[in-house]
Structures are given as C-alpha cells and as structure tokens.
Symmetry: C2
Subunit: 220 residues, 2 copies
C-alpha cells in the first residue's frame, strides 16, 4: 500500500513535469536542473554562467533551498529574474514547485532557465521538473568516491561538472578513479573540470551551453 | 491524510529509537550519530577516532550509505566490529535499520558506538536512532552559509565539528560568520575546528569524547 501511494505521487509529478516541459518548449526555453551536494558550487556556477552569457542570452533562475533566500539575493544583484523556492523540510524540488515559480517569471523573455535544486545527492533523482538537461556538480574536496555512494544521481546526469579543481594540490582526490567511476555508471557522459573560483574550465562549460541553446526547440 | 501517515511513521520510529536507546543503556554503550553533507569527513573522523581511542575504548561502528560498502571496508581494516547498512534510495538511517544492525554487533563488547548516517543535511534530522549525541560535521570547502541553508540539522546538534580547516587559506570561508550563524541556531553548542588530514584539533575532539564516555550510564 505504501508503494502504491509513492507511485501515485511520482506519477503525478511526472505528469506535472511533462506540462512544465511543454510550457518551456512553447516559450523556446532551455531548462537546466543543477543538482549537487551542499556547497559543491551550484550557485557559484550559476553566477559565473550569468556573468559570461547574460550579454547575449536572456537568462532566468529558480533557486531551491530548504531555507533562506541567500542564493536568490546574489542572483538578483546580477539583474536577472529569479524566484526563490523554500521547500521547508523537503529534500528536493518537485514539478509543482517549479510550475508555481513559472507564474512569477517572465517566461516570454527567457531563453535559458537555470534551476538550482536543493543541495542533496539522493532525493532530487526521483523528481523530474520538466528540465531538458540534468547537470550534476561534484567537487574535489568531497572526494573521488561520490559516484560509488550516490550512483543514481550520477547515472541520470547529462553532464558532470567537477568543480574546485584549484584544490587538487591540497586534497586527496584520484581524478582517474573518479572519471572511471562516473563512466562506469554513465558511459558517454562528459566530465567538465572547472574552478568557479579561478575561472579555469568555465569557457568550455559556457560553450557547451551555448551550443545546446542553438539546438533548443524553435518557437516559430 | 498524508500528514497523518507521516506522523504515524515518525511516531513508530521514535518508539523504536527509544527501545534502541534502552538496549544501548543496558549495555553501557555511548552512541554517537554523525551527520554531514556528502564528503564532509564523517568516515575520516570515525577512522581518526578509532586510531586514537581503540587501545583504551571498545568501539563499534554502524555505516549508513545509500549504496556501496566502501566505508565499512575501511573500518574493518582497523579491527573494529562494523555493520554496513545500505538504505537503497532512502536519504537517512532510521531506528529500525539501526536495530537490525544491533543484531550483528557484539553489543556486550562495545563501549562506544559510532553511527555514520547517510550523507545528507536534511532527512536525518527527522529520524532519531536511539543515539545519545548528534555530532554534525561541516567542512570548510562547503562554505560558511550552510547553517542558514540547513538550520534544522544545525539546531539539533550536540556538537558541531568543522573539518578541513587546513583548507582555510585556499577557499573563501568566513569563520566568524559561520560561528555566529551556528550560535544563532543553537546557542551554547560548541564548535570544534579540526583537520582529519593534518590531525589539527583532533585531540580536543577525542578528549571531549572520552569525557562523555566517563559520564555514560553505568551497567552495574
């Protein structure tokens, strides 16, 4: 009986996610769902993406957190439309939360929607939001064993960004072992090594993103 | 109706946690529940604690992970009894899982039980295990804003360990801001600054633990 209820919830979420996706497509918006551990650098990557692309691309942001509006406040300063979702105790965003954020965003003026999920490597995997792409951010100080410990999230990612590579000289992190573990779960997925602090590798990420934007659904 | 079901689950968990606690008390065991983000250093602190205390104190370990037995394998090498719990998709340990681990541990030979919860700053807060103390490990590269983002976990901690202080020169981390945020949620809680990598601050932690062990329930 418990399983039945959970299936109903997930199925309702999938239906809502499909509607979100359709709305995004109608508006010609490419939507990215960023997932990561707390403190891996989701907000830093979003801010860096805005810095580099906002002159050419109309960006919108949805910030998901259990509590606080710290991240949204940083995005607002960049002059980009943003909605903060506080989930209360819930460990992930869901499609209904994101749908309600859409009511408070000028969708017709957005080409790229960056959705920052709650900092968590488990729960977000079960809840589609209507996104086009899942980008998982892992970070060097978390250690190279994270793919083994959180395999579902790594297997669902369309791209893995390994952040904080400036810390490689200061921590124990086996880069080949990390890469092998990721590929073992998700063969063919690319891993972009970046440092939001030094800027290293960010251009590869923004080029990849620009390329994806050119392939997004046409609104004509 | 949904709230009612959740309440039933939590109440059943609390009852089981109480039974766990009674069993631990009868055996004169002090139990610590370690919570943290993925990669903050729970396993490292447990291994360091074993290294320094195992000559004098009989230690047992329960390792909680969504997947893999990597952590338990490292503990086994230290010659300490350990049970690995894989939660599948569940983002926290619960009292029933821990009770089943007790069936596979020589409780009568353990004085200090170290329970490593799933790497997650949200879900574990709602599920008591029967532990005496909650120790929350935060780490410098995660950033100083974590108390604002995950307030419930910080407010429930009996001790906060700030790990990876060897990285302070290499990352942006405002230590007074972190301390103020923790105290704002949990006035009176101590924050131990440590580095499991360099060993800095670990002695303060093991002394605190030894002191707590001397105060644990008498089995006589």
């Amino acid at each position: 009986m418990k399983i039945k209820i959970l299936k109903d919830i997930l199925s309702a979420n999938d239906q809502r996610a499909k509607e979100n996706r359709e709305l995004l497509n109608r508006n010609g918006i490419l939507a990215i769902n960023f997932t990561a551990s707390p403190g891996a650098g989701k907000t830093s990557l979003i801010l860096e993406t805005i810095n580099r692309l906002k002159a050419d691309i109309k960006i919108g942001v949805v910030e998901g957190d259990v509590s606080s509006s710290l991240d949204a406040e940083m995005v607002v300063k960049k002059g980009v439309p943003v909605v903060q979702i506080n989930t209360g105790g819930t460990c992930h965003l869901d499609a209904t939360m994101v749908a309600s954020a859409f009511n408070n965003l000028p969708l017709e003026e957005i080409e790229l929607l960056l959705i920052e999920n709650v900092g968590n490597l488990i729960c977000p995997a079960a809840f589609a939001l209507g996104e086009d792409l899942n980008v998982l951010i892992s970070s060097v100080p978390e250690g190279d064993d994270k793919p083994h410990k959180y395999p579902v999230m790594f297997s669902k990612a369309h791209l893995v960004v390994l952040n904080k590579i400036d810390l490689l000289p200061h921590v124990l992190f086996d880069l080949p072992a990390f890469t092998e573990a990721v590929k073992g779960l998700n063969n063919g997925v690319e891993i972009f090594e970046v440092s939001c602090k030094t800027g290293q590798g960010i251009e590869r990420w923004t080029s990849w993103l620009s390329n994806r934007l050119n392939k997004r659904p046409s609104t004509s």
